[in-house]
């Protein structure tokens, strides 16, 4: 469990999210051992590791779908509790692999769902929606379609719009491109990276693909069996692997990343 004293560059403020000694067990098996991790503002942090390593658990802890058994999570300085989680969720966007779009709502209704719930004005919603369509390169002609009438790539764009609708401070992406075919995936990767850069978006990105991690990650956090094994840049992981697991993990995907 290496702490992460990585304040290189622009960061003068504290981390947006701060996990302190956070642990979680499912039934009898620990999913996440006592873990410390700061999520720095304006950067993309990538969580990577094999299936069941605890990376999704970590994400779900931050958005409050599960609660930690031990330790605390602070968001923008205040500790996440059941009392404030609903308010905090409005400051966090969440995109999952299958998109998580509601099939009975049109693309537009999916994107506007939360804004409507909060009673935003029509004008405000319309402006923001057009902005997002432009940002995600989603044709506004398709807004009245239902999720089932959209392609996988289009669905993920809508899902991203929904996550960004309220201009969240933090964007959580749980393998957002995992279900897409390689061509669509490659072009979306490129677009996403541009979007994050343009928005200076604080992003926590979960993937099991090292190439994707290297492409997005300002900071790569490699996890295994509920522990953070090593964190740093791809070069750090390759040149100074913390243990055999890191070496093995890097090597197994080496052909993809380094050729």
């Amino acid at each position: 469990m290496t702490p992460a004293p990585k304040a290189s560059g622009l960061q003068e403020m504290s981390a947006l999210v701060e996990l302190a000694d956070v642990g979680k067990r499912y039934a009898d098996a620990p999913a996440l051992h006592s873990t410390n991790l700061p999520i720095e503002r304006g950067r993309t942090t990538v969580l990577i590791g094999p299936s069941g390593c605890g990376k999704s658990t970590l994400l779900r802890l931050i958005i409050g779908l599960i609660t930690p058994d031990s330790g605390t999570i602070a968001f923008d300085g205040s500790q996440i509790t059941p009392a404030n989680i609903d308010t905090l969720r409005r400051r966090i966007g969440y995109v999952i692999q299958e998109g998580g779009l509601f099939p009975h709502l049109t693309a537009r209704a999916n994107v506007l769902l939360m804004a409507r719930y909060l009673g935003k004005s029509h004008e405000e919603m319309r402006t923001r929606l057009l902005e997002l369509c432009e940002l995600t390169r989603f044709s506004d002609n398709l807004l009245s379609r239902y999720p089932i009438e959209l392609s996988g790539g289009q669905r993920q764009r809508v899902s991203l719009m929904r996550a960004l609708m309220l201009s969240p401070e933090l964007l959580l992406l749980d393998e957002p491109l995992g279900a897409l075919d390689p061509l669509v995936r490659a072009s979306l990767q490129k677009e996403l990276k541009e979007i994050f850069a343009r928005l200076r978006q604080t992003t926590l990105f979960v993937t099991h693909d090292l190439a994707e991690a290297a492409y997005f990650g300002d900071e790569i956090v490699l996890m295994n069996e509920g522990h953070i094994v090593q964190q740093g840049s791809l070069v750090d992981l390759r040149e100074k692997p913390a243990n055999d697991f890191v070496r093995e993990f890097i090597n197994s995907q080496r052909a993809l990343v380094f050729t």
Partner: protein, 515 residues
Amino acid sequence: MKVLPRPKLVGCDNASPARTRARRGRPSGLSLSFLILFVAVFSANARAVIVGSKKFTESYVLGEIAKRTLNDAGIPAEHREGMGGTIILWQAVRGRQIDAYPEYTGTIAQEILKTDRKLSLNEIREALVKFDVGATEPLGFNNTYALVMRRSEAQRLGLHTISDLRNHLELKIGLTHEFLDRQDGWQPLRARYGLPQQDVIGIDHALGYAALKNGSIDVKDAYSTDAKIAEYDLVTLEDDLQFFPRYDAVFLYRLSLPASTITALRKLEGTLDESRMIRLNAEAERTKNYARAANLYFQGDTGSTTAAGESFWHKLMRWTLRHLELAGFSLLLAVIVGIPLGIIASRGGSTGHAILGFASVVQTIPSLALLALLVPLPFFGISVRTAIAALFLYGLLPIVRNTASGLQDIPRALRESAIALGLSPMTRLWQIYLPMASRSILAGIKTSAVINIGTATLAALIGAGGLGEPILSGLNLNDHATILEGAIPAALLALLAQWGFDPLDRVLIPKGLRL
């Protein structure tokens, strides 16, 4: 809350408030709240004298005659036809759901007072006082039980008495369910005569006659005034050991009825001998119209043609509307109660299991038994309420189960997406979960509707009317045309309900789920 329309009353509505109070008695706290809830139903019941009848021709005819007699005396009266067997009628008169019904002295002693002794009418009266029930003098005929056979068969075997059956083990015996279970019925009769026949089948009274006629059975129980005895050329086996008690017909009535009502009812005493009763029964079975048979009794009376039966279309309308009321109201209740229960059940845990378990157990109770179980309860009795309550319980399971499974089938990822957005639990339920489960919930409601429309035909068994009414009287008269008068419209209603839901699907299921 929707209030049931008042049943159509015969005669006028001029019952005085004093009489209404007298009939209802002093309300307890509990019954007071029922009064408030169901004031329309109660007040409808409170205005006319209600005459009940059992589910066989003679009882229908006697009920009709009593109604006419009361009406002729200026007393508003209503006839609830063919409500069921002895115990149901007895419970109904004790529970004040009806005011009078025709009964037989032998039945009173054996079935109601549960004694093996042969009681005089005065002894019967003394015993009934504590139930607030009185009895008229005999109407004039003794309708005792009898065992009957085809005349040809009896002659061929040389059978004259019940004792003669001892040597004929091969004869197939078919008995009504009531006779099989009665204390003065088959078991003691068999013991008394030492009959060897073990294997008897239970069969409906009217169907039994058909079975006897076509040779499916050889011996059946009958009432000695049954019109069918003459019609099918049957013979009565002599009760040579005098096993059967006398079954003198009387009217049982509630003692708290106004004296004028009792006086009017007592005008029937001694006016009907056996041959006259057989004629009336035969007329009822020939014309399939009890009101016309009752008219025969009043022959010479100038108003005798006024009570001729209502037109078929009018009756069909009345049955259908009542049927829709029964099925519709119970469905509405099942939806209102079932969806919230389904939502709770979808969360699992012990409460969820308990709810689904309860609904499943209710579903396994045969519908007839469920009706019978509700009848003795204080609030229910013989009424539309009971039918609606039973149908409601039946309609519950499909709605609860489909609501629960519809909600549980929502993928976890979507459930979590709704939570992660920050929507409140109520908003998640109304805007996300329920719309997504709408197809399943509607399918449950559709199943309930079709079940309820079918099961509502049984409501006629407890006098709640509907399309079961012609089915029951048709069964009673062994008349297929009458059965179909109820069965065809009931089947059509079920089909209509099925089709009616398709447009509803388009309105209630979000478009995104129908693509």
